[in-house]
């Protein structure tokens, strides 16, 4: 029967190796992904795109950078925010 410390140090080694593999995975993908992102960025230039299509539920969350300064409350003065993603948007800083 192996000593408990041998078993535990083997477990630590295994987790460390897994972490190193993930680190290698991130390094390997970084070069390819950066190239892919640069290609997609060229689409933004070609079609004059300004925003990420992350929250498509409301116009001010779809085009965050183009929205009015009081974007989340633009339907009428004093309107309460009703879209879930709107409640996660920061207040305009300008």
């Amino acid at each position: 029967m192996a000593r408990p410390s041998t078993l535990y140090l083997s477990l630590l080694l295994l987790l460390g190796l897994l972490l190193l593999t993930l680190h290698a995975h991130s390094r390997c993908n970084l070069a390819n992904d950066t190239r892919r992102l640069a290609q997609v960025a060229r689409l933004a230039t070609r079609f004059s795109l300004t925003d990420l299509a992350l929250c498509t539920e409301a116009r001010y969350s779809r085009h965050l950078s183009q929205a009015d300064r009081h974007a989340a409350f633009q339907d009428h003065p004093g309107a309460l925010e009703h879209f879930p993603s709107g409640s996660l948007l920061p207040p305009p800083d300008r």
């Binding site: 408990p4 993930l22 997609v40 960025a41 079609f47 300004t50 299509a53 498509t56 996660l88 920061p90």
Partner: protein, 380 residues
């Protein structure tokens, strides 16, 4: 040296045997601890990668967008503004942008409809995002009907479908010919949604923006830097909001871990007393407790960190997708690029491992310095 290593291994053996004697408590603590690290690591990886990805993707965004504001709201801009802006020194090109939204009640999704002067899009054809094609089961060459301003449908042929790789920018995008866009939405001929301005020298962008605001006080110039700043702020804010949401669970864990680590049970006090009475020195008792704390916190940290990486970069953060998605039906399928901020990982390590070690060692030191007889009796 060999003796030191061997004695440390003996203490480690003893610490592991002690933890295995109360294996139920040990494993539940490691699991809970790892879960907290997992959530924090996932938030950290996700927000940092999203921030970097948006920076890279939007580095191709227009240098300067000029909107017209009426009563504080965005309104179509007259094309003559563009002709005026083109005369400003340093401006090399002014391109009117025509874009808007279309709500598809069949799939309850909002599309972004935009025009392009690209040759690939002729009258009667469209380029659509992969997300939209997926939702409507459309292939290249299929037809898509869009309802116009007059309540009559117009049919277009799908000429291009954007690749899944560009989903983060194009998932809901419908690119049309300018004439089709104006006809579809009855958009006034001498107006555009906004103007995209190209400046010869990028360092002059703020000056040109200020000049535009001076010439046309009813406009709002938005620079590429503003766009990048908006997204940087959004992901900082989202990360902050997520941390606030998990902070209650975090606080509960901190109280639990502190209580577990700092309050020695009568059994543990008796154990320390016995160890001291059979000849263990105070520092050896402390090393034993340090090993116990290190085993729990290091294992939990590594498990949580690995879990966080797999969740965000290999599984595309399914737990966070719902938060961002809200009520939207069209959501990009994207795989995040593993951009990692090693400084943040180091901070997470320090904040998750060291407080626990401290909470373990201090009460053990207090118990180890009392008389073994008193420690075994459970009194000071």
């Amino acid at each position: 040296m060999r003796t030191v290593i061997e004695s440390q291994r003996n203490i480690l053996d003893y610490a592991l045997s002690g933890l295995m004697r109360r294996r139920g408590k040990t494993f539940s603590l490691i699991l809970l601890y790892a879960l907290v690290v997992f959530v924090l690591a996932s938030i950290m990886f996700f927000t940092h990668a999203m921030r970097r990805e948006s920076e890279l993707l939007l580095s191709g965004a227009p240098e300067l967008v000029v909107q017209r504001m009426i009563a504080g709201r965005h309104d179509p801009i007259p094309l003559e503004y563009g002709r005026g802006i083109a005369t400003i020194r340093g401006v090399s090109r002014v391109q009117p942008r025509l874009w808007g939204y279309y709500y598809d009640s069949d799939i309850r999704a909002n599309y972004t409809v935009q025009t392009t002067t690209d040759d690939s899009i002729t009258r009667g054809t469209l380029a659509i995002g992969a997300g939209l094609a997926r939702m409507r089961s459309l292939k290249k060459g299929d037809e898509l009907s869009i309802w116009g301003y007059d309540g009559q449908p117009r049919t277009f042929q799908v000429a291009t479908i954007f690749t899944v790789e560009s989903d983060l920018l194009t998932t809901d995008l419908v690119l049309t010919h300018e004439a089709d866009f104006r006809e579809l939405f009855h958009f006034p001929m001498e107006r555009a949604t906004d103007l995209s301005v190209t400046v010869r020298n990028p360092r002059e962008i703020p000056t040109v923006a200020a000049r535009i605001a001076e010439l046309y006080p009813d406009t709002r110039p938005i620079t590429r830097q503003d766009i990048l700043r908006t997204y940087a702020a959004v992901f900082d804010w989202r990360g902050g909001i997520l941390i606030v949401m998990v902070s209650m669970a975090l606080l509960a864990f901190v109280i639990f871990a502190w209580d577990r680590a700092s309050g020695l049970s009568a059994n543990e006090q008796r154990e320390i007393g016995i160890l001291k009475s059979i000849g263990w020195k105070t520092e050896e008792v402390l090393i034993l407790k340090l090993w116990e704390g290190a085993i729990i916190s290091l294992t939990a940290f590594l498990l949580g960190l690995i879990g966080g990486y797999i969740h965000v970069f290999l599984l595309s953060a399914p737990l966070f997708a719902r938060v961002i998605k809200g009520w939207a039906t069209l959501y990009p399928s994207f795989r995040l690029t593993p951009f990692i901020d090693y400084y943040q990982v180091a901070v997470l390590f320090v904040l998750s491992v060291f407080p626990y070690l401290l909470a373990t060692v201090v009460p053990s030191w207090q118990a180890a310095i009392v008389d073994p007889d008193n420690a075994m009796r459970g009194s000071e």
